[in-house]
């Protein structure tokens, strides 16, 4: 149990969330994870971090500010990534069912991101 465990717990309590992780944004490696069985944690961490980095570059190029929140909707599920406002190296990554209450996840993610800063 690390300092991150309670943070992940709070996200995982939302119905429909299948797991969450703290990920190093630059190298896409897991720092701490709490996932349901069957989720390929390292793959999710690496792929979502990579997508987040690209999204961050694109909004920066457009001078729209520093991306702090990313949400990917797919046929069978949702992925979320949230970075602290100061854009430290850490990223919260969440995997959820497609029927999850997106608003609740966003709220919890924002709280965790703030705690990471």
């Amino acid at each position: 149990m690390s300092a991150f465990t309670p943070l992940l717990d709070s996200v995982n309590r939302v119905r429909g969330v299948r797991g969450s992780m703290i990920v190093a944004a630059d190298d896409g490696l897991i720092v701490e994870a709490d996932l349901m069985i069957g989720i390929a944690g390292p793959a999710v961490a690496a792929l979502v971090a990579s997508l987040f980095r690209r999204a961050r570059r694109s909004v920066q190029a457009a001078e729209l500010g520093a991306a702090a929140y990313l949400q990917v909707e797919a046929d069978e599920g949702l992925l979320f990534a949230a970075a602290p406002p100061g854009l430290g190296d850490l990223l919260l990554v969440v995997v959820a069912e497609s029927w999850v209450n997106v608003g609740l996840v966003r709220l919890e993610a924002a709280r965790v991101a703030e705690a990471l800063a």
Binding site: V23, A24, D27, G28, L29, I30, P42, A46, L47, S50
Partner: protein
């Protein structure tokens, strides 16, 4: 003859290596054996440059394993060298025939995490290749001998 089986089908390695390069968005990929010989590569402009990287990569792998042994450890799962302009990942893995080593160079389009994920898939794919124990095709020995003479004469000058 531990490598005897490998030679026939190293062409089959190209598929997994290409997939890895594309999916992991890396710049260079090299698959070599423990002696530094190249089995597959992608992204290099010159065949002879490939060999230089392969030789050094095999050296890095061999020496890091020696370090692990000195420290009483079985070996490293992989090696990673970070850098601002580019990063290098060296991952050894076992096949039914012998140990192979993947060397890859990547930039900001990829990440250590991505490389690790797709490296694991490459290892799975390579280990599953059906060719590990197939019979070897043959070539005409007499013809080879004749061509060998001519080739040596061409390179060194007739003596």
């Amino acid at each position: 003859m531990r490598r005897g089986d490998l030679e026939e089908f190293i062409g089959d390695l190209k598929g997994p290596v290409d997939t890895f390069a594309r999916e992991a968005a890396v710049r260079l990929v090299l698959l070599i054996n423990g002696s530094g010989q190249v089995l597959a590569q992608r992204g290099f402009a010159r065949a002879l440059d490939v060999m230089g990287v392969a030789a050094l990569g095999a050296g890095i792998h061999a020496s890091s394993r020696a370090v692990a042994q000195l420290l009483g450890m079985p070996g490293f799962k992989h090696l990673h060298q970070g850098g601002a302009a580019g990063q290098v990942f060296i991952g050894p893995f076992q096949t039914p025939s012998e140990e192979l080593i993947l060397i890859t160079v990547f930039g900001e389009d990829s990440s250590l995490g991505l490389v690790q994920v797709f490296y694991a898939r490459l290892v799975e794919e390579v280990q599953k290749l059906p060719g590990w124990s197939q019979a070897r095709p043959t070539t005409d020995a007499a013809q080879f001998e004749r061509d060998l003479e001519a080739g040596l004469d061409h390179f060194f000058g007739a003596t």
